[in-house]
């Protein structure tokens, strides 16, 4: 009776580890690709070659060329920098702000907690992307404003998690003991609360990378994010969508890039969640 359970646990543990290695490596490759994008492009991504417009995929141009004769592969690689960088920046912003606000609310309580949580309710009540559209629209587009808009609608989720985790920590005997040892509030939060609550928050942000990449590309596609000629996957797709029926590769290339990156980050997020789950680690 006991044996199989132990084995099942062990197999699960192993597969989680293997998945972690695979998706982790892929994600790191993506990051490397975006950091060194300038050196990885076979052609200058902004160089127009009018003799060679709308060329179908071939050995020389794997993803073909667009209507100005620019190499699509090079543009997709360069676009990875904007897309991946801005996504990571966005996720970092909402993780840090949301956590700070949540911990503060949970620790302080009283009226500040009530006010901030009501505000976060308001943000949570709107359908996310619609609200981001409105904010980005008011701020008049641009990559920076798209990030601000998405950050504005996304921090409450983190604030909620951080707040409830902080409240749970506050009730533990060890936190009472820590208070009795004469720690200042700052030290209690940084040394004792944050390390104990950061796990689930980081898992949430990993899972959010894929979503945020999509939403950022979505805003760009709608013309509220990165503006041409900046190579960004969402705006590249929107830019060329009129050519979808005649030269489909021009639209497909950035589409496939978004699809693959979102999938890698989602799978990595899932894996990290499984890995962080003590049950799957067989503790």
């Amino acid at each position: 009776m006991k044996e199989p359970t132990v084995r099942v646990q062990k197999i699960r543990k192993d597969t989680v580890r293997i998945r972690l290695i695979i998706f982790g490596t892929l994600a790191i490759l993506l990051l490397i690709c975006s950091v060194f994008s300038e050196y990885l492009t076979p052609y200058d991504p902004y160089l127009q070659d009018l003799a060679n417009i709308k060329a179908a995929p071939s050995a020389a141009h794997i993803f073909g060329t667009d209507r100005y004769g620019r190499d699509m592969l090079s543009r997709v690689i360069v676009g990875s920098r904007t897309s991946i960088y801005s996504t990571l920046l966005l996720v970092a912003i909402i993780t840090v702000t949301g956590t700070m606000i949540g911990v503060f609310c949970g620790w302080h309580g009283k009226w500040i907690d009530v006010v901030l949580m009501r505000i976060s309710d308001i943000f949570l009540a709107f359908p996310g992307l619609v609200f981001a559209l409105a904010v980005a629209g008011i701020l008049e587009g641009g990559l920076q404003n798209a990030i601000i808009a998405l950050a504005a609608i996304s921090w409450p989720k983190y604030a909620r998690i951080a707040r409830s985790q902080t409240l749970a920590q506050k009730e533990t005997p060890y936190l009472k003991a820590v208070r009795l040892s004469g720690c200042s509030t700052m030290k209690i939060i940084i040394k004792h609360i944050l390390p104990n609550i950061i796990g689930p928050i980081l898992v949430t942000s990993m899972l959010d990378i894929g979503t945020m990449m999509m939403e950022l590309a979505g805003l760009s596609f709608l013309g509220l994010g990165a503006k041409p000629p900046t190579a960004e996957w969402g705006s590249m797709m929107s830019d060329t969508r009129s050519l979808l029926t005649t030269v489909p590769w021009v639209t497909m290339a950035p589409g496939i890039a978004i699809f693959i990156s979102v999938m890698i980050f989602n799978l990595l997020g899932d894996t990290i969640r499984d890995y962080a789950d003590p049950k799957s680690r067989g503790r």
Binding site: A177, S181, G182, K187, H192, N196
Partner: protein, 254 residues
Amino acid sequence: MEPILKVENLTKVFTRKGQPDFIAVNHISFEMNQGSCLGLIGESGSGKSTTVNMITRLLDPTEGKIILDGEDITNISGRKLRKVYARMQMVFQTPTDSFDPRCTLGDGIGESLRNNGWARKDTRDEVARLLEVCGLNADFASRYPHQVSGGQCQRAAIARALAIRPKLLICDEATSALDVTVQKEIIALLNELRWKSGSDLSILFICHDIALVQQFCNYVLVMYKGDVVERGEPDEVIRNPANAYTRRLIDSVL
């Protein structure tokens, strides 16, 4: 001599939305002399923990006054309150949960010293000494709470409470979560520490075992539903309990 702890009319009322107010502790008053050991007994839910949580100011009292060593600590906060914790420490019921799972026992024990300006190295030496005083090997300092048994963890918790050399030690059911033999060891340790300290250490000892209180304490308070229903010397209280609840409590044990 000034009493180490004086509590006057201490009251805690819990208010919750949609429910009637709940009086967990109802106007209790008592005094503790320096070097004495006061027992506080009563069934679960009688308000013992609430009382000591108010005394340590982990919980704000609804009403009443707490005077520690001549200083009124009822309304102080922040840095002043942190200073007070050098004179008053507590040992909790669940040993393992009373240490941060991500810090070593040594970090936990030395924390109050570090917060009071001790150097890292001095703290490390003192932690090793304290562990040995409490019957543990000095290398327990590098273990994590989940790597030691409940009894060992409670010894470490006592070491932590004594690190800053408090005048008042509060033990909130410090032995209830342990099995009987380990319970005896912990009691023996507390007894030893008490005799070693002369009259420098006063102990407020919470439990629901009247026999334990009899051998350990000079004075006992019996709590029932937030009230102190009986007080006196343990032998006296056991011999002729005035209160019906106390009588039942004694009958159930002896």
